[in-house]
């Protein structure tokens, strides 16, 4: 197990290097001038531009820039953005809300998604199954911004049940319920369908027939024997989704005015803020890889046939 983890972490190094280099090169290739909007309505003085370009290594060729950047990154220095604020500080702040939002969305996926999937699976072909199958298809077919705006209008504005927007980074958890639901909505639908399909398939398995032949109650045969096997792929899906959600959600954040990681990258790209974008993406890549490693380890716990020795 320990060996496996070390090997996996070593494998992450080329992935992180590759991903950051691609992002770095893309930001480098973006048209536009980072100093363009710095000095109000007037163009910046040549002295300022020169100093700015010098400070951010913008005069060096791409590989040198990348090398200098990487050297700082491995020392834990994520650099400062073009406003002079350390990216690390910005990210830490924004992660408090993105992390909460992602966790809550995952809770929705687990609770609503799995519950709906199980109900549909055990009552295959009945009303509840059709309800779940059709409603999830509906959710999957609608773009998330439509769902977001609709729910925001209904629950936040018309009925006033929840705050329509998230006022600040320290906003109470209750104000994140609706955004988290919207953020997780499509995945809730996928989780429900995945659970249903796997459950239906496993209910036909030989070992479930054995469970029934052992005189187990139906609840035990389905709830213990079938469900455990059916949830293995669902856990993988949810884990990968969690990794993705930690990267922020540009659309959902926009709708609900959340100052999260997604918006930070968006802003970084728009203002040609190379350091902010590259550092954030690098952190996201690392987080995603770590979450994936955790999922793989969990997979081994759920399915003893998978060995990490």
């Amino acid at each position: 197990m320990g060996k496996y983890i070390v090997r996996r972490i070593l494998q992450m190094i080329p992935v992180v290097l590759g991903a950051t280099f691609i992002i770095f090169a893309m930001v480098f290739a973006l048209p536009g001038d980072p100093t363009a909007g710095k000095c109000g309505d007037r163009p910046c003085s040549p002295e300022y531009v020169a100093a700015f370009r010098e400070e951010h290594n913008l005069n060096d060729p791409l590989p040198v820039q990348y090398g200098k950047y990487l050297g700082k990154f491995v020392q834990g220095d994520l650099g400062t953005n073009y406003y002079g604020i350390p990216v690390k500080e910005d990210l830490a702040k924004r992660y408090t809300i993105t992390g909460r939002l992602a966790l809550m969305a995952i809770v929705f996926e687990i609770v609503i998604g799995i519950l709906a999937g199980v109900l549909a699976g055990v009552r295959k072909g009945r009303f509840i199954d059709n309800l779940v199958t059709v409603s999830t298809l509906f959710v999957i077919s609608i773009p998330v911004f439509v769902i977001g705006v609709l729910l925001q209008y209904q629950f936040g504005i018309k009925w006033g049940l929840v705050p329509a927007t998230v006022p600040s980074l320290e906003a109470p958890t209750s104000s994140l319920i609706l955004p988290a639901f919207v953020l997780g909505s499509i995945s809730i639908a996928y989780v429900a369908r995945l659970t249903r399909t796997n459950l239906v398939e496993n209910l036909r398995a030989d070992y479930v027939r054995t469970a029934v032949a052992k005189g187990l109650t139906k609840r035990r045969a389905v709830g213990v024997h079938t469900l455990r096997n059916s949830l293995i792929p669902v856990v993988t899906y949810i884990g990968a989704d969690f990794g993705g959600l930690l990267g922020g959600a540009i659309v959902t954040e926009r709708i609900f005015n959340i100052q999260g990681v997604g918006g930070y990258i968006w802003k970084g790209i728009n203002s040609r803020d190379g350091v902010a974008v590259v550092s954030t993406v690098t952190v996201l890549v690392i987080v995603y890889l770590l979450v994936n490693l955790l999922v793989d380890l969990l997979y081994g716990v759920l399915d003893p046939r998978i060995s990490h020795e």
């Binding site: 398995a205 030989d206 070992y207 027939r209 029934v212 032949a213 052992k214 005189g215 187990l216 455990r228």
Partner: protein
Amino acid sequence: MTTTTKSVAPASAYKPDSEGRLLEVDDLYVEFHTAEGIAKAINGVSFDLRQGETLAILGESGSGKSVTAQAIMGILDMPPAVIPSGAIRYCGEDLLTMPEEQRRKARGPEISIIFQDALSSLNPTFPVGWQIGEMFRQHRGMNRSDAYAQAVRLMERVAIPAAKERVKSYPHQFSGGMRQRIMIAMAIALDPAVLIADEPTTALDVTVQAQIMALLAELQDERQMGLILITHDLGVVADVADRAAVMYAGRIVAKADIEDLYARPAHPYTRGLLESIPRLDQKGQTLAAIGGLPPNLTRIPPGCTFNPRCRMSQDICREQEPDLLPIAGQMSRCHFAEEVLNG
């Protein structure tokens, strides 16, 4: 190694009926309602089983052997399976009309089953000891650690080496023969009166087959279980079975004591099966095989179901279905049973 395992079973509420029968299958019909039509899997099957007796049910794939077993266990998927008529009486009580909860409680402590493929029949995600112990936890309300102790005892009984160390291993960590032993340990855990072994050795290699059959015979002898041994392999049953019923297209076509079945088959199908067993003294000769295929169960031919493949087939065989009639201490469903017997 051999420990007596009688002590854990409380007295059963079931007692063999007035004629000493544990199990009586009476004119059972099973159909599968599918998109392609109604498949008549079982058509009027009757047999009984007594304490300490071994009944072999023989037949090809699709003859209805396993469906019969699953109907007895009550584990057919209904729908698509439908049981239009018939009775399965356990100690005089009809399992088919019994309330489901009562029937569930009989699965395991009264009647249990061993399946063919132990790898797919055991849950891959739970330790084997946990799966054996589950019998005690469900039916006896035992706690987890006591159930594990019982599992170790049973694994020792079915001769799994280092049972104590292996009780927390998973099914995939065992060999095929050991896995089948675990299935057996699970099936006999609560001391059932009837044990159904549905092709218990088909997935195993020959030396292991013999060991498993010996184990089953030994356990049956020790506990005086009624054993139903379902197989297509006539070689497997010769030593263990007392009686045999031969099934074809969902019907019993012959019933006999095991010696008679081998020595003097009274049905052409039985004889065909016997002739198709490879024998050492016939090395180099072409192996006799029964030509043709079993009928499609959605379109069973009129007359004798075996007639399209029968060498002795006459006009009457295509027109009139023979009844299962006694002949020389056996039963045969053939218009020419006497000729078969003597020829």
